[in-house]
Amino acid sequence: MIRNMVLAQDGTKTWFYLHSRHHSDLFAPAEVKDQYCHTIYSFLLYDNLAVWSNNIESMMRPNRIKRFLGLGCLWSEHIKEIEAQADFTDLRRRYEQKVKGKIRKMIGVFDTTFGDQVILTSEDMVVFAQSILRLLNDFPDVEVIF
C-alpha cells in the first residue's frame, strides 16, 4: 500500500492483473462463496485492476480499487497468436477434411495448478483432460486449443 501511495503522490497510475481464476473460493461452500476474500488480496490499493469475471470483481471489492476492468482470460492472447501460425491453419484444414465439416466453435482451454501441495491433484487433471476429449467426441464442430 505504501509503495502505491508514494507512486500516486508522483502521479503514477497503478495496474494489477490477475493471472488466474483459480482461487480458493471455487472450493468454498455455496453459502460463503459471495463473502470470500483471500488474505493475499487484502489491503490492495490500485488505480486499475484487470479481472476475468464479475465474481472475482466482487471478491476484490473490499480493497481500494478505483476501476475494475473485466478483460476475461488474460492468457487468451495466445489463441490469437496460435491462430496466425501457418502450422495451425494447415492442421485446422486437415481436421475439417477429416470430419467433413466446418469448425464452428473454438474453445480456448487453459490448465491450472495441480500437484501434491495444492487442492487439485494429478487425478483431477486426468478427469479434466478426459472431459475435454468427451466434449470433442460429442461435438465434432468444436475445436479446442489447449
Partner: protein, 184 residues
C-alpha cells in the same frame, strides 16, 4: 481440554519476549536504515526518464520458467525497453538477473536503492520525513500489538525505498503494474 498452567506461562513469557524484541528492533531501526548507505553524493543524481514500471519478484511469471516464459516487451512498440523499467522488489535468482541483463532492460533493485544516495535525499527524506515519522510513532508504539510494530517497520522501509526511487532514480513514470502469480 483445558490448557495447562505450564502452556499458559510459556505463552505469556513468549508474548512478553516478542514484544520486547519488536520494540528493540523498532528502536534501532533508523541505525539499520542508515547502515544501508554506502555512498552519499554531494551532487544531485541524474534520473532516467521511464514511463512504465514492471514489478519483478521471486514468484512472478518469470521470463525463463520451465513451464512458461513471459516477456512483456513483446512487440517493442506499445511497450519498449527504452522507457520501461523493471523494478526488482524481492531477492531473485542469479539466472533471473542474467536473463534481464541479457535482454538489455533497465533494472532497479529496490532493496539496494539505499546504497547510493544524494544529499537531497538524506536531508529531505531520511532526516526530515523518515526520522520525523519514526519519532512520532515511537511515542505510541510501545503499547501497540507486535503485528502493528512489524507492519509499521515494513511501511517505513517501503516509504524510504520508494521515495528514493522517485527522487534519485526515475522521473516521469506514468504506470506501475504487476501480475500476481501464485499457486493456491
Amino acid at each position: 481440554m483445558a490448557i495447562s498452567v505450564f502452556s499458559r506461562a510459556y505463552r505469556g513469557v513468549l508474548t512478553v519476549f516478542n514484544h520486547i524484541k519488536w520494540f528493540g528492533i523498532f528502536l534501532i531501526f533508523p541505525v539499520w536504515i542508515f547502515s544501508k548507505i554506502r555512498r552519499i553524493s554531494v551532487k544531485r543524481m541524474k534520473r532516467v526518464d521511464c514511463q512504465v514500471g514492471l514489478r519483478v519478484y521471486k514468484t512472478d511469471p518469470s521470463f525463463f520458467s520451465k513451464q512458461r516464459s513471459i516477456d512483456f516487451l513483446v512487440d517493442g512498440m506499445s511497450l519498449n525497453k527504452g522507457y520501461t523499467i523493471f523494478c526488482v522488489e524481492t531477492q531473485i535468482s542469479d539466472s533471473y538477473k542474467e536473463e534481464l541483463n541479457k535482454r538489455g532492460y533497465k533494472i532497479a533493485y529496490i532493496q539496494d536503492l539505499l546504497k547510493d544516495v544524494d544529499m537531497d535525499f538524506v536531508k529531505n527524506v531520511l532526516l526530515k520525513d523518515f526520522l520525523g515519522l519514526w519519532a512520532s510513532f515511537l511515542l505510541r508504539i510501545a503499547t501497540a500489538p507486535d503485528v502493528v510494530m512489524e507492519s509499521t517497520l515494513k511501511n517505513l522501509q517501503a516509504y524510504v525505498l520508494w521515495k528514493r526511487f522517485f527522487i534519485n532514480i526515475i522521473w516521469n513514470i506514468m504506470l506501475y503494474t504487476m501480475i500476481l502469480l501464485m499457486s493456491m
